[in-house]
Amino acid sequence: MTYNLPTKKGYFGSFGGKFVPEILIPVLEELEKAYDSAWKDEAFRNDYLDLLDDYVGRPTKLTHANRLSEYYGKAKIYLKREDLCHTGAHKINNAIGQILLARRMGKQRIIAETGAGQHGVATATACAKFGVDCIVYMGTEDMERQKLNVERMQLLGAEVRPVESGSKTLKDATNEAIRDWVTNVEDTFYIIGSAVGPHPYPMMVRNFQRIIGDETRRQLMEAEGEGTLPDYLLACVGGGSNAIGIFYPFIDDESVRMYGLEAAGLGADTDQTAATLTIGRPGVLHGSLSYLLHNKEGQIQLAHSISAGLDYPGIGPEHAYLQDSARVTYAPITDEQAMEGVKLLSELEGIIPALETAHAIAYLEELMPRTREGEIVVLNCSGRGDKDMGTISEYI
């Protein structure tokens, strides 16, 4: 591979880094060392891959969406079925990887933040499987929107700590998780759920999610013949973990055009939006430098999206770099468009997608007319929509 980021200091171009209080520096150094040695250790990787196979249910299928393809009548559409992962979304790939690392480092107490609740459920699941304590920070507004996931986490034995500060969503849950972490550095491992945070998290999360892209590459060749690459890759981006997971193994394949779809909320030109890459400016939040929604005084603005998992004013630093280097195209999708995406996939393919995933589906409306017969589109179906039924029924 010629793409070789991040740098040793954790930079993707001018984005990334370790903008954290001194207390966290020794912790991040310890984590970085442990991760490097684990990732090089065949036994560790085998444990990780065995669990993904035996427990998560990998490899997930690459499903030919024949009716959806016919509907547009152009390129052939495949869905990478992360919705079929145990717990219903790609988040578990990373949670399993990080909990194995936590165990290797001898950390007995796990904390996590969650927005939609998928990462919280994945972490609570992994903690139950390994018998370790789990505390999940979640904004009270998200707890309201994602009640089902709160109950799932509790049933799995996790303690869900409600976060009342700020916008009461993912950003504030992350603040609280970091406050817990700086207070309990000795015994606590913080499982970050997206490709955000200080180095080495964005790299680590990406590498625990790259299995999505690695499988896609292999499966597409099995289905379409040796040497076949997708012409288009589509994924939704909030923090950006499912997107970087499917993009990363294809970054050096120049013919593969990649699209990251972010949440525009009511519109990228309104103040009810989470379209960080479209309208954000560089800044520092949660330990790394990336695009951010903030006002001219540098105060973080509240993001809005109907999808709790994309309702975040930041974005992983690698996506900031991939946008600036023009390797990936990022586009905003509104709440309304996403809801159309939910209906489309449900009606044509019998798959109810997560509201997050629906942002990628909605972009087909724009992309497909530009494609040609014989081309291949792979869309990362990052999660299933059961958790969103309340929001969806209310909207309809």
Binding site: K18, P21, E22, I25, T183, H294, G298
Partner: protein, 272 residues
């Protein structure tokens, strides 16, 4: 790069003057604009009158992830009342018309970054700011503003924490200007019970003494009384109080005579 002469800096002068004095230097942290923007200048001048040697003026940020509930609260109040970076510079200028007390601006990097590193350092220096503490700029990221701050004669104060290894403490001492901020306990800012602080802190203080030899040493986090300060700062050049001060303001504001109550607390912190 033209490096301004920092010997004349008010912080350096303060520590020089106190070098042979047994009295501890007291630094107070106040969120700019808390409890209201009109009071900040008066509070700083009153602090000085009641024994404060140094002021850390907090630049409020919407997401203060290293701070406990007290400073989260004061930051929110200040932001809601429309505090901006320009208003903070104006406050410093107003203090400077009447006082020579050293003022350090303290806050997270994002508002500084958004203002523009160059413009920020230039305006801060011009307003009469004496130094900067940016807790989410560790050594690793110092490149983002170290040169510009030095060019403007603004010492950048770095922090050491209980889990900072010896060798790293020495590196921080080599890079830090003005003093080294010693965080006495792991965790977020906030007043703690005296015992909790006392028990864990001595081993850390001993390591600081061994490794921080170039700079003066100020200790903070969790100090809420003169007794705490005396015990924890015994081997330090001075101590820093933030959350306990803001809690006191929060309890008394806007009662008649609230400032006098706050100043009485400040006096008691310094003199017992």
């Amino acid at each position: 790069m033209v490096k301004k002469n920092t010997q004349q800096n008010r912080i350096n002068r303060l520590f020089k003057q106190h070098a042979d004095s047994p009295e501890k230097i007291m630094s107070l942290f106040l969120t700019a604009g808390y409890p209201d923007p009109e009071s900040t200048v008066d509070l700083i001048l009153g602090f000085e009158e009641h024994g404060t040697d140094l002021v850390e003026l907090g630049m409020p940020f919407s997401d203060p992830l290293a701070d406990g509930p007290t400073i989260q609260y004061s930051s929110n109040v200040a932001i809601e009342q429309g505090i901006t970076m320009s208003k903070i510079f104006t406050m410093v200028r107003q203090v400077r018309e009447r006082s020579d007390i050293p003022i350090i601006l303290m806050g997270y990097i994002n508002p500084v970054l958004r203002f523009g590193i160059d413009a920020f350092c230039e305006e801060a220096a011009a307003a009469g700011v004496d130094g900067l503490i940016i807790p989410d700029i560790p050594l690793e990221e110092s490149g983002i503003m170290a040169d510009k701050a030095a060019e403007q004669g603004l010492p950048l104060v770095y922090l050491v924490a209980p889990n900072t290894p010896d060798e790293r403490m020495r590196k921080i001492d080599a890079l830090s200007e003005g003093f080294v901020y010693c965080v006495s306990v792991t965790g977020v800012t906030g007043a703690r019970e005296g015992e909790e602080v006392a028990q864990s802190v001595q081993r850390f203080i001993d390591r600081v003494k061994q490794n921080v030899t170039r700079n003066p040493k100020m200790v903070g986090f969790g100090i809420k009384s003169h007794e705490d300060a005396r015990r924890i700062a015994a081997d330090m050049d001075g101590f820093i109080v933030g959350s306990a001060l803001i809690d006191t303001i929060r309890e008394s504001y806007p009662r008649e005579g609230w400032k006098d109550e706050v100043f009485a607390f400040v006096h008691s912190l310094k003199y017992g």
